[in-house]
């Protein structure tokens, strides 16, 4: 019961993040760059969720590009 507001706020954040990323990915290369930057700024569970959204929105070429970008920018 005490965790309910937290869960709701988390779900809201996830939904908002998902909408933003989906919207960004509609705008070609620039949109992709924005989506990837959002992904890089997220941490933990939100980072994972952002990655899943981007992954599912991209085709195979896009996914390769995403993985290449991540491997170049991983620390």
């Amino acid at each position: 019961m005490t965790n309910e507001p937290e869960i709701n706020s988390q779900q809201l954040k996830l939904a908002a993040l998902s909408d933003t990323l989906c919207a960004a990915l509609k705008y070609g290369e620039e949109g992709f760059q924005i989506a990837v930057r959002i992904l890089q700024n997220e941490t933990g569970q939100m980072r994972l969720a952002a990655y899943h959204v981007i992954w599912q929105e991209l085709d195979e070429t896009g996914r390769k590009k995403l993985l290449k970008y991540l491997s170049q920018h991983s620390n």
Binding site: G44, Q45, R47, L48, W55, Q56, K64, L67, S74
Partner: protein
């Protein structure tokens, strides 16, 4: 009515500064290594040192610092200069424990929120300070690496051994030999409820990192499997090995061993007698007394034909013990010839001198033993034992741990005043290094651990032992970085552990709020056994244990959802929530990843294609398995199973995907792995 107070509180909380700085007080060896370890976490520390150092053990250390303040860290103005109010953690690591404790009190007054990591050996004081100061942890830098030393001494098979919630957990390294039950089995098949494979190394390869291997590989001869296992198996295995070794010894070998032991003891005695002046005198005196006793007995017997041999012997002994007056005390003519009386007088004079010397030596021996009539220690093991040279604080801890692991060992202390009551079950040699090493059966020792406080002496001992035994595990203690680098070239097969370098990683990790339970070394990396309690904004919250493991590069070894009991080697499919307790094995890079929340996503590129199902039950069961292992929504999984063939949209880590395929196939759902061509995570 409380409006002003509430306002004040609100203003105070809004004025609370962000805690984003790290402070290290004391830039000795320990402090410098802490700065390096903090840098590995991606932060630059501010440091306080009493005097400007003339040289640095770590050459580029000033570049790693945000600021260096020269002054007394106990003073408030110095702490304020170091932005104490903005410090997330303060590491008090000077070599003076009093300064560390005083600084801890000063720090807490200036910043009630900062985490204090204290270098201290005083357990009781640490407990009291922890209660009083809060957000506080203390470590003894010498104690932390003791386990690492002890485990290194065990040889190559046991890498880590620690207790979690009273249960023993071990990390083992298993080399596959002919006839090994693990040979030709698939790696995942070795896993059980109590055991988890951590890594697999082909005979020709080196271990790169945990999880960088294929779980569906068949284990071959010469491969190495690193695994973690709960329960008493490790200790039991070690004991079993020793017992079976003992059982294998034939009677002839036992007799040979007794004879060798006798010879060694005799040689040892002779060597000692001639090496040590005082014993030479004792031997000389003893021989003179015996010779005189013999001559006297013969003379008395032959002159007094009626007397017995025993009476002649007694008369001579009385004379040697200064009893001339007892035999010739009365002044009256005697039928004893003058020369025999003169000889008797000579016996008394010479006897007084030499028996006196023997008395003196006996008294000295009794006094030097300090009347410690302790239990006789067992004999020095003949082979396959661990030799610990240097029984200081860390040496004692290593010896205690090895005794706990029931390892045959011998301790060598170079301190003549060493506490002889320490570990009475451990064979102990006290004396100078040459004598001690010659007695320790070095040539047949399994491991030699050199732990004296003198680094150069450690090197000398290491080189001496290498001459005698090239094959033993050699473990050396150092403090300095430079020496460690040079020694590695000089002693290529030795394990050279820098006490402070190893401990610093635990200090740095503790600065971030983590509870470091223990540490051990794996392929020259320090693995920290770290405990987390999942909080609301935690980077672990909401993740599956598999995602934590493969995403951050750690191994989860304990999970607890309070108030339930903890589970060792938890399932990969548990989702972490606020309040959960998780213990992981992680190196410092993995801890940094968790701290930053930067999950590795490059390897999360495997997908599962579900082809077909053979029964209607399999549709239902398949959806459950997909949802459980991948963490996706159950509705998504059901939709997938109702529209076959189809690819699960959620990308997975390789081991996660392989396990999903395996479990689906077991439930009569045909599935296979799919990956991005040219990109194998």
């Amino acid at each position: 009515m409380d409006t002003p107070a509430v306002n004040q509180q609100f203003i105070a909380s809004s004025q609370q500064q962000k805690l984003d700085r790290f402070l290290v007080c004391g830039l000795g060896s320990n402090g410098q290594h802490c700065v390096v370890a903090l840098r590995e976490f991606g932060v630059k520390a501010i440091a306080i040192e009493q005097v400007q150092p003339q040289s640095w053990e770590i050459p580029n250390l000033p570049d790693l610092l945000e600021d260096l303040i020269i002054g007394d860290c106990r003073e408030n103005n110095i702490l304020q200069q170091a932005k104490i109010k903005r410090c997330r953690a303060v590491l008090l690591v000077t070599s003076n424990e009093q300064i560390n404790a005083e600084t801890a009190l000063a720090v807490r007054q200036l910043n009630p929120r900062t985490r204090i990591v204290l270098r201290s050996t005083k357990e009781n004081l640490n407990r009291l300070l922890s209660e009083q100061l809060g957000n506080f942890i203390a470590f003894d830098p010498n104690q932390l690496p003791a386990t690492a030393f002890a485990l290194a001494a065990l040889g190559t098979e046991v890498l880590g051994l620690f207790k979690l919630d009273g249960k023993l957990v071990g990390v083992g390294k298993h080399l596959i030999k002919p006839g090994d039950p693990w040979c030709n089995r698939l790696l995942y098949d070795i896993n059980s409820r109590q055991r988890r494979v951590l890594a697999h190394i082909h005979s020709s390869n080196q271990l790169s990192s945990l999880h960088q291997w294929d779980i569906e590989t068949k284990v071959k001869l010469g491969d190495t499997v690193i695994y973690i296992e709960a329960k008493e198996r490790f200790v039991a295995e070690l004991n079993q090995r020793q017992t079976s070794r003992r059982e294998r010894q034939s009677n002839s070998k036992i007799l040979a061993s007794i004879w060798n032991n006798f010879k060694d003891k005799t040689n040892e005695f002779l060597q000692l007698s001639f090496q040590q002046q005082i014993r030479k005198v004792a031997l000389f005196s003893g021989i003179i007394v015996l010779v005189l006793l013999l001559i006297g007995t013969i003379l008395f017997k032959f002159y007094f034909k009626d007397t017995t041999w025993f009476s002649a012997f007694s008369a001579t002994a009385i004379l040697l013990l200064g009893g001339y007056s007892d035999l010739f005390g009365e002044f009256k003519p005697s039928d004893i010839p003058w020369w025999l009386q003169l000889f008797s007088l000579e016996l008394t004079v010479v006897g007084t001198v030499f028996v006196g010397v023997i008395y003196a030596l006996l008294t000295e021996a009794l006094l030097s033993s300090k009347f410690q009539f302790v239990k006789r220690r067992p004999p020095i093991p003949q082979n396959n034992h661990v030799v610990i040279v240097g029984l200081g604080r860390i040496g004692k801890q290593v010896a205690s741990l090895l005794q706990e692991f029931k390892q045959p060992q011998v301790g060598i202390s170079l301190d003549p005043d060493f506490d002889r009551t320490f570990l009475p079950e451990m064979p102990l040699i006290i004396g100078n290094i040459n004598d001690s090493l010659s007695k320790a059966n070095l040539a047949t020792a399994k491991s030699i651990v050199v732990l004296t406080n003198d680094e150069i002496l450690n090197l000398e001992i290491a080189l001496m032992t290498r001459e005698i035994n090239q094959n033993s595990n050699l473990i050396l203690r150092t403090y300095g970085q430079n020496l460690r680098n040079n020694w590695t070239q000089l002693l290529p097969n030795a394990q050279i552990l820098g006490v402070y370098a190893v401990a610093a990683e635990a200090f740095a990790a503790a600065a971030f709020g983590e509870n470091i339970i223990d540490l051990f070394r794996l392929n020259n990396r320090t693995i920290l056994v770290t405990e987390y309690e999942v909080e609301t904004d935690d980077t672990l919250n909401g993740l599956l244990i598999s995602e934590v493991a493969y995403g951050y590069g750690v191994v989860a070894i304990l999970h607890q959802k309070p108030p339930n009991a903890s589970t060792l080697i938890p399932s990969d499919d548990l989702k972490l929530a606020v309040g959960d307790r998780l213990v992981v094995l992680a190196d410092i890079n993995a801890l940094r990843r968790i701290e930053e929340g930067s999950l590795n996503l490059i390897n999360k590129c495997w997908q599962v294609r579900v082809e077909a199902v053979t029964t209607s039950d399999a549709v239902f069961e398949g959806a459950n398995i997909i949802s459980r292992i991948s963490g996706c929504n159950l509705n998504t999984a059901r939709e997938l199973m109702n529209n076959l063939p189809n690819i699960l949209p959620t990308p997975l880590y390789k081991h996660q995907a392989q396990r999903l395929v395996r479990e689906l196939n077991q439930s009569l759902v045909k599935a296979r792995l799919v990956t991005i061509p040219d990109f194998h995570g």
